[in-house]
C-alpha cells in the first residue's frame, strides 16, 4: 500500500476545493457547459444518457479496506447503492447529482482517493499489473514506478490539454497482466545486463476505431530517466498530434503516420532538451516513494496446510481454488481473485453491501488490501493458504466466488447502451446471456481459458479487439447488430482479432459464440491448446464455415 504524506493530501484537498468552485460557477451560470465540460471531465465527471457519471481513480488498482469502505459510502450516500469497476482500474458511479459531486470528492479525499484525470484530454489514471508486489515472476514492484508516474502526470501544467486522452500502463513481469501493448505508452520494467533497472518503452498502442499494437520505441530507458523520457514523448505528441480530427488525434495515429523511426527521432531530439535536467530521478527520490509502500509482515507458513488438504474433498471449493487462487511470492500465501461476474449479472458491478463485506474480509484475511484488475474483477493479494477454505465460504456467501475466473463467462463488457451516450448497442444483456449459456462449470472448465470481450460501440471500452472472442455492437437500420472477431489477445503476445464474417443480430450473438466454442472443441489438437492458440494455428476460416454454414 502507498501511504499518502502531507504533500499528496494537501494537493488532493486543494483539488477538491478547486472543483467545488468550478461546480459552483457552473451552477450559477458563470461557466458555460462548453467551458465546464473539459474541467469536469478532468475530474471524472461525464454527462451520460440519464445522469452524470462519476469515475474515481484507483491508481495501479491498489486499495486499502478503508478506501474500499469509502467507495461503498459514496455508492450508498450519493448514488443508487452500487458501483461499477471498469477496465481501467477505476470505479464508476452512474447516478450522481452534480451538486453532490464536491461532497463526494471531499469524502473520498479523507482516505486519499481522488478522481483526477480519470477522463478528459490529459494523462489518465496510470494502470499497472494488479498483482504488483506479490506476483512471483516480477522484476520488482511496478507500483512504485506507477506511483512516480501518477504523481508526475497529476495536474501536469503542460499536458492537461493534449490532443486526446493519454494512457500509461506498466508491467514488471514477462507475462503481461496490464495489457501494456494497447496503451499510449506501455512500460515493461526490466533489468539490463549490468543489473540496472529500467524500462522497455512502447508507444502508440490503443483500441477504438483504429486499433494498433504498441511499438517499441526504445529497448532500455534507465529508471532515473523515465520521467524525462516520457516527458519528451508527451511534448512531441502535444505539439504534433492532430487536433483537426478527433478520430485521428491519438498518439497511435501520429506514430503510424510518421512511422516509428521518425517518431523516435523526434522524441530523441526532444529528450536531449530535457534529459539530465530536473526530471532526472535519484535513488533518494525513488527510495522515498518505495518506502511508503508498506508490505505485510508475512509469517513463514506451509504451502500445503492441513486446512487446504481437508478442503480438497469439496468439489465446489476445488473448482473455485483451481481458477481463483494464484501463486504468491511468499510460499504460504496466495493471491485470490474475486469474480464480479456472477451468472446473469452485469460484469464488474458490486453493491455497497458487497463492497463493505469485501473490505471486512480483506481486513480479516489479506492485511487490509484489495486489488482491482482490468478484467473487472477484484483480488485479495495476501491470503494465507490455510485461510483459503474459510475465505471461500465467506466469498461464496457474498456471491463473489463464481468459479469462472479466466473462463468463458469471465466476460469483460462496457456499460453499453444501457448507460452510455456513445453506445450503439447493448453490452450488458449480451454478457448476461452468455454467462447463463456457459453457467455449467464442467463445460466451462473443459473449454479452458477463453476471454470474451464486448463493446457497445467502436470506442472499444470493452476491448473487443483483444478479446479471444470479441463482440462489437453496431447499428444497422435502427437495430442492434454485432460483429464478431476471434484470435485477439491483450497479453505479451497482444494482437487484434480477425473478423469472422458479417455482423449478426442481437438475438443470434449467444448462438454464434456457442458455435465458435463448439468448433474450437472439435478443432483443437489437444485439451491444453487454448482457444486463442487454435485460432492462431488454423486461422479464421474453419470457424467462419462453422458459424455461417447454417446462417
Amino acid at each position: 500500500m502507498y501511504a499518502y504524506d502531507e504533500i499528496d493530501q494537501t494537493l488532493v484537498d486543494e483539488r477538491v476545493a478547486e472543483f467545488r468552485d468550478q461546480v459552483q460557477r457552473r451552477l450559477s451560470g458563470e461557466l458555460t457547459e462548453d467551458e465546464f465540460k473539459p474541467l469536469r471531465l478532468m475530474n471524472g465527471v461525464y454527462l451520460q444518457l440519464h445522469a452524470y457519471m462519476f469515475r474515481v481513480a484507483i491508481p495501479y488498482g491498489t486499495l486499502s479496506s478503508a478506501q474500499l469502505r469509502k467507495l461503498a459510502h459514496v455508492a450508498r450516500k450519493y448514488d443508487r447503492g452500487y458501483g461499477h469497476f471498469t477496465t481501467r482500474q477505476n470505479i464508476q458511479f452512474n447516478w450522481i447529482a452534480l451538486k453532490d459531486l464536491p461532497d463526494a470528492l471531499a469524502d473520498l479525499a479523507e482516505v486519499g482517493i481522488h478522481a483526477m484525470q480519470t477522463s478528459g484530454n490529459c494523462t489518465r489514471n496510470v494502470t499497472a499489473d494488479q498483482w504488483g508486489g506479490v506476483a512471483p515472476d516480477e522484476v520488482e514492484d511496478p507500483r512504485v514506478w506507477a506511483e512516480i508516474l501518477r504523481q508526475h502526470t497529476a495536474l501536469h501544467p503542460e499536458f492537461s490539454f493534449l490532443p486526446r486522452k493519454f494512457k500509461f500502463a506498466i508491467t514488471a513481469s514477462d507475462h503481461d497482466r496490464a495489457a501494456i501493448k494497447v496503451h499510449d505508452i506501455g512500460l515493461r520494467l526490466i533489468r539490463n545486463e549490468q543489473g540496472e533497472t529500467g524500462f522497455e518503452v512502447l508507444v502508440g498502442g490503443g483500441l477504438g476505431r483504429s486499433p494498433f499494437i504498441g511499438k517499441s520505441i526504445k529497448p532500455f530507458v534507465r529508471g532515473r530517466d523515465i520521467l524525462s523520457y516520457v516527458e519528451a514523448i508527451l511534448r512531441v505528441y502535444n505539439q504534433y498530434g492532430r487536433r483537426d480530427n478527433i478520430y485521428k488525434a491519438r498518439i497511435k495515429i501520429l506514430v503510424h503516420e510518421l512511422g516509428i523511426e521518425k517518431f523516435a527521432a523526434e522524441v530523441e531530439q526532444a529528450w536531449q532538451e530535457v534529459a539530465e535536467g530536473p526530471l532526472t530521478l535519484d535513488d533518494e527520490m525513488i527510495e522515498d516513494i518505495r518506502s511508503r509502500f508498506v508490505y505485510p509482515a508475512y509469517e513463514k507458513l506451509p504451502a500445503m496446510p492441513d486446512e487446504l488438504r481437508a478442503a480438497a474433498g469439496d468439489a465446489r471449493f476445488e473448482a473455485w481454488r483451481r481458477n481463483s487462487v494464484a501463486p504468491h511470492r511468499e510460499p504460504g500465501y496466495a493471491i485470490v481473485t474475486l469474480s464480479l461476474k456472477p451468472v446473469g449479472g452485469p460484469p464488474g458491478d458490486a453493491t455497497a453491501d458487497q463492497i463493505d463485506a469485501i473490505a471486512d474480509l480483506a481486513d480479516k484475511y489479506s492485511f487490509g488490501e484489495i486489488r482491482v484488475g482490468h478484467e473487472q474483477n477484484l483480488a485479495l493479494p495476501h491470503v494465507a493458504r490455510r485461510d483459503l477454505p474459510a475465505l471461500w465460504a465467506a466469498l461464496d456467501a457474498l456471491g463473489v466466488a463464481t468459479p469462472n475466473v479466466n473462463l468463458v463467462s469471465d466476460i469483460i463488457a462496457c456499460p453499453g447502451l444501457d448507460y452510455c451516450s456513445l453506445a450503439n448497442a447493448r453490452s450488458i444483456p449480451i454478457a448476461q446471456e452468455l454467462t447463463r449459456r456457459f453457467a455449467n462449470h464442467e463445460t466451462a472448465n473443459l473449454i479452458g481459458r477463453l476471454h470474451v470481450n464486448i463493446s457497445g460501440c467502436i470506442n472499444a471500452c470493452g476491448h473487443h479487439h483483444v478479446g479471444h472472442i470479441g463482440i462489437l455492437g453496431v447499428e444497422k437500420n435502427d437495430q442492434e447488430f454485432y460483429q464478431i472477431t476471434i484470435g485477439g489477445r491483450a497479453d505479451e503476445d497482444a494482437r487484434v482479432g480477425d473478423l469472422i464474417g458479417p455482423a449478426v443480430p442481437y438475438a443470434e450473438v449467444a448462438d454464434v459464440v456457442e458455435d465458435i466454442v463448439e468448433a474450437y472443441l472439435a478443432l483443437r489438437e489437444k485439451p491444453e491448446e487454448l482457444f486463442v492458440d487454435t485460432v492462431k494455428r488454423i486461422g479464421v476460416e474453419p470457424f467462419k464455415e462453422r458459424v455461417y454454414a447454417t446462417r
Binding site: D8, L11, E18, E35, F161, Q239, V274
Partner: protein, 169 residues
C-alpha cells in the same frame, strides 16, 4: 480584453499592428510571426520594444536567434482546450532561456492560470473580466506541485528528497 501582469490588471504597453499597416516610428509594437520573420534582422534592430505573436503550430526553435532582441512573445490558445502553447512556453523559458514577457492570448480562463504561470507565462490577455479580477485567488489555490518546471517551485519528489537527506533533528 483585460491584461493581467504581475498579478494586476494593467494597460497594454504594446500596440498590435496588422501585417498591411505601417509600423509607427516609435513605441512598443506587436506584430505577426510572418511579418517578423520576413524581415527579422531589420525589425529586431528597431529602437523600441518589439513583440511577436507566435502561432501554436510553428516550432519555437525558429525564434532562437532573435530571443534576446524580443521584448514580448504572445502565444496563442485558439480555444483553451488546444494546449500546444503550453509546450511552446516551457521550451522558450526552460530550454532556450527567453527572459522577455511571455503572454497567453486567446481563450484564457482562470482555471488555467496556475498551469500557465507554471509554464512560464507572465502576462495574460484574459477573456472574462471576472476571471481577470479573480487572478490572485485562482493562482493561490495550489501550494503543492508534483512537477518541477522553470517557475522555481520544487516538485514533491524534490521536497521529499530534501527531507530524506536532511540531517536528523
Amino acid at each position: 480584453m483585460p491584461l493581467v501582469k504581475n498579478g494586476a490588471i494593467v494597460a497594454d504597453d504594446f500596440v498590435s499592428v496588422a501585417d498591411d499597416a505601417e509600423l509607427p516610428a516609435g513605441g512598443a509594437v506587436l506584430i505577426s510571426a510572418a511579418r517578423f520573420l520576413a524581415d527579422a534582422e531589420a525589425l529586431s534592430a528597431r529602437n523600441a520594444p518589439l513583440g511577436v505573436i507566435w502561432p501554436n503550430n510553428r516550432d519555437v526553435a525558429e525564434l532562437k536567434p532573435w530571443l534576446d532582441r524580443l521584448s514580448l512573445i504572445a502565444l496563442v490558445f485558439p480555444t483553451f482546450k488546444d494546449g500546444r502553447a503550453h509546450s511552446q512556453a516551457r521550451r522558450l523559458r526552460e530550454v532556450y532561456g527567453f527572459r522577455g514577457e511571455l503572454r497567453a492570448t486567446g481563450q484564457i480562463l482562470r482555471d488555467q492560470f496556475t498551469f500557465l504561470l507554471r509554464n512560464g507565462f507572465d502576462s495574460f490577455a484574459v477573456t472574462k473580466e471576472s476571471d481577470a479580477q479573480a487572478f490572485g485567488e485562482a493562482t493561490h489555490r495550489y501550494t503543492e506541485f508534483y512537477q518541477p518546471t522553470g517557475d522555481g517551485h520544487l516538485s514533491a519528489l524534490q521536497r521529499r528528497r530534501k527531507r530524506h537527506t536532511a540531517p536528523a533533528g
